[in-house]
């Protein structure tokens, strides 16, 4: 069983970090994993993105042309990646910034008003964790608690321990908002 997600958005929306936390959490949960940052030509067009592949056995290709999920933090990301998502897959859409519906009808679409929810948790920089919380709820690939622990370990290791409560709250917020 192999699951893959492309996390995409504007530079500064924290998509790279969200991917790193997910990859580390998946590894801590005993899965094989690869994390590939947006790189080269894909850096054009206003989107930064990273791809995380998680599997029970060794991951083959770290580059994915049919991801099982997409987290689209802005409209260009949805435009760019919507058609690639595997049939029956999941799209998390930031409905605060994406002013159109997902065109495909063979996907599980979860609309999260990330900017509004960010304001609710008290910091717009935590919207990546809200999105990740939503993704975890929708896919169940890694338990929320593992993601939270991993996030706390990584932030503490990076000397940013004071942001742990905020990000934990953001993960909860996204988890509870997704359905």
């Amino acid at each position: 069983m192999e699951r893959s997600v492309i996390i995409a958005g504007f530079g500064g929306q924290g998509v790279i970090l969200a991917g790193k936390i997910l990859a580390q959490a998946a590894m801590n949960h005993g899965l094989e994993v690869t994390w590939l940052p947006s790189y080269g030509p894909e850096m054009r067009g206003g989107t930064a993105n990273c791809t995380v592949v998680m599997a029970n056995e060794t991951v083959g290709s770290p580059i994915v042309d049919e991801p099982t999920s997409l987290i689209a933090m802005n409209l260009p990301s949805l435009d760019k990646f919507e058609q690639m998502v595997a049939k029956g897959g999941t799209i998390i859409v930031n409905s605060s910034l994406v002013n159109r519906e997902v065109a495909r009808n063979d996907l599980n679409v979860i609309k999260l008003p990330l900017n509004d929810l960010g304001a609710k948790v008290g910091n717009m920089r935590a919207i990546n964790m809200i999105a990740l919380g939503g993704y975890v709820k929708a896919t169940g690939v890694v338990p929320l608690e593992v993601v939270k622990e991993t996030m706390a370990q990584m932030l503490e290791k990076g000397g940013k321990g004071k942001f742990v409560p905020l990000n934990a709250k953001a993960l909860d917020e996204g988890y509870n908002a997704a359905h």
Binding site: K20, V33, T34, G40, V59, G60, S61, I63, D65
Partner: protein, 351 residues
Amino acid sequence: MGEKVLLRGNEVIAEAAIRAGCQCYFAYPITPQAELLEHMAVNMPRLGRTFVQAESELGAINMVYGAASVGVRTMTSSSSPGISLKQEGISYLAGSSLPAVIVNVVRGGPGLGDIAPSQCDYFQATKGGGHGDYHMIVLGPSTVPEAGTLTMLAFDLADKYRTPVMILADGMLGQMMEPVDLPDPIDVASLPKKAWATTGAKGRDPNIILSFDLDPEVLKRMNLELQRRYREIEKNEVRYEEVETGDADIVIAAYGTTARIAKTVIRMARAEGIKLGLFRPITLWPFPYAPLKKLSERVSTVLTVEMSAGQMWEDVRLAVAERAETPFYGEMGGVVPTPRGILREVKKYAH
């Protein structure tokens, strides 16, 4: 083995070099290998070892030449345009029989190219690159953990054969993260002493490191000695991997990141009833001609897939000759072939 950590390929190569006893590292910044340089900048001084950010790639490779002369384990790293600049020094290292490790995190070319992954430096790495009749051992890691184990191996092979060894990675391998069990550090004191090193002529005749002689007969003998060593390397050090080749009708020949992508293609193809396998050279020089030749006797097609216009393809065709079809699929300029893209090509040859 320690605990598993999630690291980028660039960081794993750097850390493996440190654990292999790399005493001196010299390099010049370039994308997409910057994390390697930065890891060394932080960690080498902490361990009391040498890190110098050189004035240029020429400076860096010649600092490597100096450190190698003294007999310590030494490394430089760069990406394609920078590796072109290092060719002079690599030729001198080979000519002077000096062990050193050179990492090329390949990006799109020619010229300035771009910073995206590529395999367009295969010819340069495996066929010489610089001037003169020389080879270096070229190792092509396919995953982040393998980048670590092959870096450790590179130092051993360099010392064993007194030759430069290249790690031929690509931008994707350098940038991506994957869990890795970092290898245990070696005991540097346990390494064999290098009697030839220029450590000061104390109680012995002077040692001289040089790559030249103006007498053609003498230089011929020096060349023959190099060639003798190359034959020995070809005999002892060929490494490769075969995946699901047992019943395969079609085999993909690929190395590095491309080979890894091909492993996913095998799963997809077999789900559709196509008997697909993979032949993955790990040593790009010496190239595994004999095992590929043997494999080609029982398959219909050997499809070479590369992030280049078809460089390793030439070696594949040398090995396969007329025993099987030898089509090619390549992407260039930093475009990475996707599993579905490769599968489409495979299907052209499936009957």
